[in-house]
């Protein structure tokens, strides 16, 4: 284990020039902020898409802005569904928690002056940016955006526009954009892992790393191993679409009485296996950083160490490992072997155990503490509540017997929105409120932030809790219209309630956006350690100098969560405070 001595005893010169400083910056902090803004842009796009969806479901005959001709057609609805899922999962949940905050904070929290490979870091951002452009381009080509969902199952996604509008160039651009995203993520993962392994400051042993760093590390490992699989799947799908191969397309398909003779013998299930082998670790990539942030923030604002630090590390490792073993639970009714379904089911139930451990430990962290209800803390507390709700609905879906009913119903939509679309987002919000002072040198307005929290917390429960009930009544997913099937009739009031709640909740996010943008320029100036935190980022100015520690040798003496240590006058001890200096002030 090479514990690096940190930067040499000299300061580097700052970069000059607009392009080098802000556009092609090699500074992990700038790159982290670039990723964050990419995610911020993407989340508003994703919310706009979902707003149009919810609007159409309850007012199907209404004229909708931005839609050519006014009234939304089913394929347009499905294009919204597809792009909403794609943009949210990839451009928001895989980007902000990991590439955004991880990039910004990981080097600082381990005492390094930058990521190990800054050029690769810069390339990974710009590659991500290109992939976003390619994916968004699908909206503007003939036929429009693809309609096969973010999961893009063949043959629907493989035979071109004979299976539906949007399945022509739009779907091709989607696949290419996704493949580019895979490359970007792989490059990013390389950097995260190498940096954590090799650039830790002296004294920063693995067991002294903040849980955020552990989360980013494990997430990066998951990404490293999973995105290659998606890349392979995308390559094969692209070949099926463009080169006449038949990896996923069986023979004898008939579309409007015409036989598709050019393909035969492929397996739609092969795509599902490849996609979900990637797809399941992907959702843990989306949530693990949020778990790390929650542990970190809960500890900081309870003024107490994280309860069961080692168990927390072990739980995240278990989640990461088991995450590769459960992909079949997305395929219980797919025609896959029912015996393997049994195995996948048991493994999936098992993965609930480390998640439960984390929940217990969060409660244990809070118990006996002294909770300060800052905005970051509110969102971290919200995370716990939302994660419990979302995780528990997973216990239903993990059982194939129950999944026979719930698969592809809104029960699933409820489950994944609670864990990803809300809990993970709350993790991003908690991180934002917590680290905004450090990143931008200004404080966010706490009062406005609290309004944002209350409206959002109530709002998301109003939107997504009713979806469980929709699922129990049997409401299928991805229905462009609720009049095609009779048993959906009585659900209209629920759908209406959800749509109204969505409108309000999305509106509330503009409060956040306003706070964020306003305070960039006019927020109260932030000191270096406004939250009295212990980790290394709080020992440097807000915002930090471009090489983080200004040439200082960083030496770490203790773990990351020494709050309210008995016998100490100060209720926190920074990680890098020399032992002889502890307790001497005040």
């Amino acid at each position: 284990m090479a514990e690096h001595e940190g930067s040499g005893a000299h300061a580097h010169t700052a970069p000059t020039g607009f392009l080098w400083k802000y556009v092609f910056s090699l500074d992990h902090k700038v790159i982290g902020i670039q990723y964050y803004f990419l995610a911020l842009f993407s989340v508003f796009v994703g919310m706009a898409l979902s707003l149009l969806m919810r609007f159409h479901l309850v007012w199907p005959a209404a004229h909708v802005p931005l839609i050519a001709g006014g009234v939304m057609k089913p394929e347009q609805y499905l294009a919204l569904v597809t792009m909403h899922g794609t943009i949210m999962v990839f451009m928001v949940l895989t980007t902000a928690p990991q590439s955004g905050f991880g990039n910004y904070l990981l080097p600082i929290q381990i005492g390094a002056e930058d990521m190990a490979f800054p050029v690769l870091n810069m390339l990974s951002f710009w590659t991500t940016f290109v992939s976003l452009l390619v994916i968004l381009a699908a909206f503007f080509v003939e036929g429009g955006a693809p309609i096969a969902g973010w999961t893009s199952y063949p043959p629907l996604s493989a035979v071109g526009d004979m299976s539906g509008p949007g399945e022509g160039l739009g779907q091709t651009l989607w696949v290419i954009g996704l493949a580019i995203f895979c490359l970007a993520s792989l490059i990013g993962a390389l950097n995260f892992i190498t940096t954590t392994v090799d650039l830790r400051a002296k004294g920063m042993s693995l067991m002294r790393m903040p849980l955020t760093v552990w989360a980013w590390l494990i997430t990066a490992i998951l990404g490293l191993l999973a995105f290659g699989v998606l890349l392979a799947a995308c390559a094969l799908l692209l070949l099926d679409r463009m080169a006449g191969t038949s990896f996923f397309i069986p023979g004898g398909l008939v579309f409007t009485d015409t036989v598709l003779a050019a393909h035969e013998g492929g397996s739609p299930l092969l795509w599902q296996h490849l996609f979900w082998f990637f797809g399941h670790p992907e959702v843990y990539i989306a949530i693990l950083p949020g778990m790390g942030v929650t542990s970190h923030v809960l500890s900081n604002f309870s003024r107490k160490p994280v309860f069961g630090y080692r168990a927390m590390v072990g739980a995240m490792l278990a989640i990461g490992f088991l995450g590769f073993c459960v992909w079949g639970h997305h395929m219980f009714v797919s025609g896959m072997s029912p015996y393997s379904a049994f195995a996948f089911s048991l493994l999936t139930m098992t993965i609930g155990v480390p998640s439960a451990i984390k929940t217990f430990n969060w409660l244990g962290t809070l118990w006996g503490g002294k909770i300060q209800f800052t905005c970051a803390m509110l969102f971290a507390l919200g995370f716990v509540s939302l994660f419990v709700t979302g995780g528990l609905s997973g216990l239903f879906l993990a059982q194939p017997t129950l999944d026979l009913y719930f698969h592809d119903t809104f029960f699933v939509v409820a489950h994944f929105h609670f864990v990803m679309g809300v809990a993970a987002i709350f993790g991003i919000f908690a991180a934002t409120y917590f680290w905004y002072p450090k990143m931008f040198g200004r404080m966010l307005n706490e009062t406005v932030g609290k309004v944002h929290f209350w409206l959002t917390f109530i709002g998301v429960y109003c939107i997504f809790m009713p979806m469980h009930f929709l699922g129990m009544v049997g409401r299928p997913r991805r229905y462009a219209d609720l009049t095609g099937v009779n048993f959906l009739g009585p659900l209209h009031s629920v759908e209406f309630f959800i749509s109204i709640a969505a409108i309000f909740t999305i509106a509330a996010q503009f409060i956040f956006l306003f706070n964020f943008l306003y305070c960039l320029k006019w927020g109260k100036k932030a000191e270096s350690n406004p939250w009295h935190g212990t980790t290394l980022e709080w020992s440097i100015p807000s915002p930090p100098p471009f090489d983080n520690f200004a040439g200082r040798h960083v030496q770490v003496y203790r773990g990351a969560y020494e709050f309210s240590v008995p016998g100490e006058a100060q209720d926190f001890i920074p990680q890098d405070l020399a032992p002889e200096k502890v307790g001497k002030a005040n």
Partner: protein, 282 residues
Amino acid sequence: MKKPRMDGRAREKGSTAAAAMLALLIVAITAITVYIFVAKIWWFPPSITDEGHQFDAQFFRTLLITGIIFVAAQLGLALVIFRSRDRGQRVHYFEGHNGMEILWTTATLILFVGLGIYAEKAWAEVHFIGAEPGALPIEVTGQQFAWNFRYAGPDGVFGRTRPDLVSASTGNAVGVDPTDPAGKDDIISPGEIAVPAGREVDLVIKSLDVTHSFFVRELRLKQDAVPGMTIHLHFTANTPGTYEIACAELCGLGHYKMRATMIVMNEPDFEKWLQQQEAANQ
């Protein structure tokens, strides 16, 4: 935000309000959720098969366990939030408790895995065992955007089909090959499947184009219809009635209206229905 004083004796003003609000909110959310579940305001339709009842039992078991955990965790969170709010108190410094870790890890493991193993019985009955030899085979073919059903007729054998013979306009929705004698007595019913009550049915599920999914809520069953595959699904429906079939796998722009009807009827009514379909096929 008020900065906490270093000596830990300050009272954080306003934290009681925030703590109380958050705790009450969590309690309210929990209470409302529990109420809606218990009152069954939105609930499954009644199940009409024995396996369906097993599903209901397993659902209830899971709901009970997750419900208890849900209430305990959310109320626990609310309680901790309120009790541990900053009132100027001393913090209890502890870093963990190995005994508790082992305890709740083991308990959760036994509970979750036990629940999972318990659930397998119903799954096994649906999927580990095939249909009984005397079951009535009915072929289910999904396509964009309709369901067609085929009965084998008195010979009990389905005639060969060829994709190039599929022709909606001439009524050959599944492409039955006229040269195959076994297909002569096949009966095709577009959009409506009749099933004799109390007799086991063996669905033979196929697709002409993309992946669809055959879903009947009252049966508590769902099965993807995958092109290139033939997948069996068996059940015995006990309660006569008309039930909706909805497509449950995104299949294109008409996915939302790809519905069909399943009618469970008594044996004599079923025979009559078959004869009517046969006549309509001529």
